[in-house]
Amino acid sequence: MTDLPAKTDRKLGLVIDLDTCVGCHACVISCKGWNTENYGVPLGDADAYGAAPSGTFLNRVHTYEVTPKDGPAQTVHFPKSCLHCEDAPCVTVCPTGASYKRAEDGIVLVNEDACIGCSLCAWACPYGARELDQVAGVMKKCTLCVDRIYNENLPEEDREPACVRTCPAGARHFGDFADPDSNVSRLSAERGGMDLMPEQGTRPVNKYLPPRPKEQIDVLAPLLEPVAETPSGLLGWLDKALEKL
């Protein structure tokens, strides 16, 4: 049934750090790769090498510019994948039971064998986290790499989502939000983890860490002061030589 579980034993999800994300799109590619080569039908592409390519992705990186009242604008890279919401509207609208939220760990999944491709779940998701595969005709979404995190055939360090494993900036963290001492719970508490569109009432599990205030970064600035006022060595020689000219 597409009723939501009253409570999930664990709440697995991601913390996404908007301060450290460098916008390299590596998570987009590793996600596409893992989910094309493994669980379910591949993520379809149309006209991949033609003039108007389009394709299915479970994770996409937007880039925004935010301008404070007084101060310069700053760039924020913004990765977005399914937030595995506690009150997931995408699940309850599904007529076939293909969409469901797991009671054991809270992961929201699509059973592709039952999906009719009606797209209603994608309409119900505020975040654009679901895409109907135009080749296979079934709904695709982030699986929280359910086929990695429990996969005993993978080395221990690979038992985390592909996007987390691949991120060169360490901007994505995976863990259990039901445990207040987990890495993700602590990170979210320390850095003020945010819900996206809280007014939609979806209660997302994934949390976003806001960019650190610029003043906080300036505490490092004194350490970058020049250490010597008068140049020595090659620079000193050059300085003197130039003065003589």
Binding site: G55, H62, Y64, V66, T96, S119, Q134
Partner: protein, 290 residues
């Protein structure tokens, strides 16, 4: 939202069909034999034709039977169940009227109620979506129901009832547009809430996540053709309500009645196109497009 022809046809035709079935179930008009056959043929052609059109919107229709299973939580599933129950009971009722010259009134009442229920469940598929604030308001079911019953009365030849219901539907449509135009702002979702960056300052899209298009943009961020919306509203109102009401008020014959029906259908199709094309989904905020 993308105004897919299959969904526009489905909601418009099946709305009319189930509206007509509701009146036939109540014995309005009380027909038997060949006359009943013609009425029921039209009603079933519209309602079933609409349902068939709706399956063209599916990516994977081979699993369609499974869509009856989730009636406890899903309005789409409930709609399927109501539609089948309505068609079965009205099929029985039609058999009695056409072949046995009988009016099995209890079955007719049940069938009428189920037909109205089908239209209501259809409307709730759209109404329930918080992500599309324009639809997420109580006037949406009122609009679907009044249009379906108004059109049904028109097809059933119930001149007085049709006159009242069509005027009512016109008023509900005007109110729906008025309220609908404010709904997105009222719902309160902005790029600031969508990104959580509002605490820092004013965010704007700097670079989209992909250069080409994708499913989300095609399906939910439809921005083409809205500039004619105001004119289309006037036209749809004239065809959907204005012309049919004038014709009904002048005691129509068969031919003029047919013109009223056609005009109404054209108007409903235009209004339904607007219903989708003007509906803005909150996901558009992430793309700085609505």
């Amino acid at each position: 939202m993308h105004p897919a022809p299959s969904v526009i046809l489905f909601t418009a035709l099946s709305g009319l069909g189930f509206g007509l079935l509701a009146f036939l179930g109540l014995g309005l008009p009380d027909v038997t034999g060949w006359v009943a056959f013609v009425f029921f043929a039209i009603a079933f052609a519209l309602s079933v034709g609409g349902l068939v059109a709706s399956t063209f919107h599916l990516g994977n229709p081979k699993n369609a039977m499974k869509a009856f299973s989730q009636w406890r939580s899903s309005w789409l599933s409930r709609e399927g169940c109501f539609a089948v129950a309505a068609l079965i009971s009205m099929g029985l009722f039609a058999m009695g009227a056409v072949f046995f010259g009988q009016r099995w009134s209890v079955i007719g009442w049940i069938g009428a109620a189920l037909s109205v229920g089908t239209v209501f469940t259809t409307s709730m598929i759209y109404t329930q979506l918080k992500t599309v604030p324009r639809w997420n308001q109580p006037l949406t079911p009122a609009l679907f129901l009044s249009l379906s019953l108004g059109g049904g009365a028109l097809l059933a030849g119930q001149v007085r009832v049709a006159l009242v219901l069509l005027v009512l539907a016109g008023l509900v449509q005007l109110a729906t547009w008025r309220v609908g135009d404010r709904r997105f702002a009222e719902a309160g979702s902005t790029l600031s809430t969508a990104t959580g960056l509002g605490d820092i300052g004013t965010p704007r899209l700097f670079e989209p996540p992909h250069t080409g298009t994708n499913f989300l943009l095609k399906e939910m961020v439809y921005v083409v053709g809205r500039k004619h919306a105001a004119r289309l509203r006037v036209l749809s109102m004239i065809f959907m309500v204005g012309l049919p009401v004038v014709i009904l008020a002048t005691d129509p014959g068969h031919l003029t009645a047919a013109i009223a029906v056609l005009s109404h259908l054209v108007g409903v199709l235009a209004a339904r196109w607007l219903f989708f094309a003007q509906a803005e989904h909150v996901v558009g905020l992430y793309y700085d497009k609505r």
